[in-house]
């Protein structure tokens, strides 16, 4: 401590400067490709090499490209459907896990993190082999099931962290005032959970919307979502149209995450609790 204080200020300044450079380097590394991607989506050239001038041509082309639009609508359909299902199950699951103590509830609480931490590809392959073992042929339905399975943990974790601050006396007060169990849930518990539920569902939507790995393994023939479409297009080189698609997806995801951020009053939180911890 004493030694640190007696160090020359000059020394500190160079150190701070070095640190700033390092931070700038990290952020540059993170964002430069994105900035380039966005810029070149407005580039008036078929190739991504040099800047030729500003145009909205690629966006125009994008919104007139039938297969791309089909992929977009399929992606949205999957995302909406899977989000609704995952939100319902996830919210109920989070309620059960925080509200009731049952045999193995500590284990269930901990097990929720498994899909969050295992490699996505392992999860995808596990689902695929599960479908195979059950004799289910990958199709639209399997994508939904796979997405719900994947999103469920995220929804539960987000809603559960909201529920952790719930005062059970409120439920007692509702019952005291004549509300039965269902009315108590609908009029008191659910409104309290709502910001968590919305945040969880937005997060789930984003995850589904830009998911590649899980969809890739479980989609079967003909179910080309937007990320899959982009992947197949990239095989023939990165065109400005792909840049435009990417910018569009970036925009959707960012807006939704921003909404989540606003709802939770902070960055999307994923609180990690040890199993069995109250």
């Amino acid at each position: 401590m004493r030694r640190a204080l007696s160090r020359k200020p000059r020394d500190q300044r160079t150190k701070a400067k070095g640190l700033r450079l390092f931070v700038a380097g990290v952020y540059g590394f993170l964002f430069a490709p994105i900035v380039v991607l966005v810029l070149f989506s407005f580039n008036d050239s078929k190739r991504n090499a040099t800047w030729q001038g500003f145009t909205l041509r690629w966006y125009n082309e994008l919104f007139h490209d039938g297969p791309v639009l089909d992929a977009l609508f399929l992606t949205l359909k999957i995302a909406v459907l899977a989000t609704i299902l995952a939100t319902i199950f996830g919210a109920l699951g989070a309620y059960a896990l925080t509200r009731y103590k049952f045999r193995g509830s500590g284990l269930y609480n901990g097990a929720i993190y498994v899909p969050l931490v295992i490699p996505e590809i392992v999860f995808a392959v596990a689902l695929l082999s599960g479908f195979n073992a059950a004799g289910i042929i990958p199709s639209f339905k399997t994508i939904i099931i796979a997405h719900v399975a994947f999103m469920l943990s995220f929804v539960i974790v987000v809603v559960r962290s909201r529920m952790a601050g719930f005062d059970r006396t409120l439920e007692e007060a509702a019952m005291d005032l004549g509300a039965n169990e269902i009315q108590t849930f609908v009029y008191v518990t659910l409104p309290f959970m709502m910001p968590g539920i919305l945040a969880g569902s937005l997060l789930a939507f984003v995850l589904s919307f830009d998911d590649f790995v899980i969809t890739f393994f479980n989609s079967g023939v003909g179910n080309t979502t937007l990320p899959l479409k982009v992947y197949s297009m990239v095989k023939f080189g990165v065109t400005p149209e792909i840049n435009a698609i990417s910018v569009f997806m970036l925009l959707v995801s960012s807006l939704l995450l921003l909404a989540t951020y606003k709802l939770q009053g902070g960055p999307p939180t994923i609180t990690v609790r040890a199993p069995g911890e109250e």
């Binding site: 005062d167 006396t169 409120l170 007060a173 005291d176 005032l177 004549g178």
Partner: protein, 377 residues
């Protein structure tokens, strides 16, 4: 049983090895302001929760207006609670909080509106009806909680230390308001507090609880003047306790304090002859006399030496050493004259303690030392 708003018949509640409430028998009359008074952890909240329906008694029965409610869930009982934490619904404004119970009863909209307005007028919060609970002060939240419960016109209103979170001044003011509201609405109030002063000022009757048991039920004066147990004598106000044994002497009891000191005690005093008992004397019943000064005939008399003087404005509190009993007495004197060295006793002075035998309370010995320190004042 039908005459009571609430009747508890041998109610016991156990949480695993802990017995929170033990064989409680209690009848509370309609319209009464009834208090449950006792130290922390004595089972007051548990008792209220059983009446409200949040806990099921392990044994015994609870009757509400003459009917056994043991198997009724909270939302089927004509009882409402004011929670210590208020438990206002944070997402609803004042008006909707108060209307919550009426809406569950599916009353007509104009009827709900009228009753909510009446209830808010009663607690003087009409102009805050659109506020969210978080925008109100603690005292206002407390009044919303009260209105939310009262608006349902329950047969019994349960209040669990409703003023516990308020500062002293607001507390005093709310005590008066609660008292007024009780008079206005005529609903039975069961009021939980650990503050003896609050219980004494507000209640028609009080049940003093200790470790899950009811020690005594009575009107405030009775509890103060005729405590039934050493615990009550020590918990409500302060008492000087002297151990001894009871002897008989004609019309009056006679208590042997040891060291040849005997005092007369009221004939109705508890305890059997020869058995160990405790004598309790209130500090303000004892008068101090100069040594050699004539003391009226028939008073209990002890000699002592002033140890400590605490001037309290209206009164002065003396701690007096009584060598013959080898214990200290607390004596409270009214400051009738302007206080000065002439009128106050000073430490080291010899004095005589005297009191009328009718102030002697003989209590079954408990062997629990230090009850005097339990004074909550």
């Amino acid at each position: 049983m039908d005459d009571f708003a609430i009747y508890l018949d041998g109610v016991t509640k156990r949480f695993g090895p802990v017995t929170a409430v033990e064989r409680m028998d209690l009848g509370i009359a309609r319209g009464e302001f009834f208090s449950l008074l006792g130290p922390s952890g004595c089972g007051k909240t548990t008792t209220l929760r059983m009446i409200a329906g949040f806990e099921e008694p392990s044994e015994g029965a609870i009757f509400l207006d003459g009917t056994d409610v043991a198997k009724l869930p909270p939302f089927r009982r004509n009882v409402n609670t004011v929670f210590q934490s208020y438990a206002l619904f944070p997402h609803l404004n004042v008006e909707k909080n108060v209307a919550f119970g009426l809406k569950r009863k599916k009353l007509a909209r104009h009827e709900i509106k009228r009753r909510v307005t009446d209830a808010l007028r009663l607690v003087e919060l009409e102009e805050r009806r659109q506020y969210k609970p978080s925008q109100l002060s603690g005292g206002m939240q407390q009044r919303v909680a009260l209105a939310r419960a009262l608006v349902n016109l329950p047969s019994v209103l349960l209040l669990d230390e409703p003023l516990g979170a308020l500062d002293l001044k607001l507390r005093r003011q709310m005590q008066l308001e609660l008292k007024h509201i009780h008079k206005d609405v005529g609903i039975t109030f069961i009021y939980v507090t650990h503050d003896q002063e609050e219980a004494l000022t507000m209640s028609d009757r009080i049940a003093v609880m200790n470790a899950g048991r009811v020690e005594q039920v009575g009107v405030p004066e009775d509890l103060y003047e005729h405590p039934a147990t050493r615990f009550v004598a020590g918990f409500i106000g302060t008492s000087n306790f002297i151990e001894g044994s009871l002897e008989r002497d004609g019309d009056h009891g006679l208590m042997n304090l040891g060291e040849g000191q005997r005092v007369l005690v009221p004939a109705a005093a508890g305890g059997s002859a020869g058995g160990p008992v405790e004598l309790a004397v209130r500090p303000e019943k004892i008068r101090l006399y100069e040594v050699g000064q004539e003391v009226p005939e028939g008073l209990c008399l002890l000699r002592g030496k002033v140890r400590d003087v605490v001037y309290l404005g209206m009164t002065t509190q003396y701690t007096i050493e009584v060598p013959v009993l080898s214990r200290q007495f607390t004596v409270l004197e009214q400051n009738v004259e302007a206080a000065s060295d002439q009128t106050l006793w000073v430490p080291g002075e010899e004095t005589q303690l005297a009191w009328h035998p009718s102030h002697n309370r003989v209590l079954p010995a408990e062997g629990s030392a230090g009850a005097q320190e339990e004074d909550a004042a």
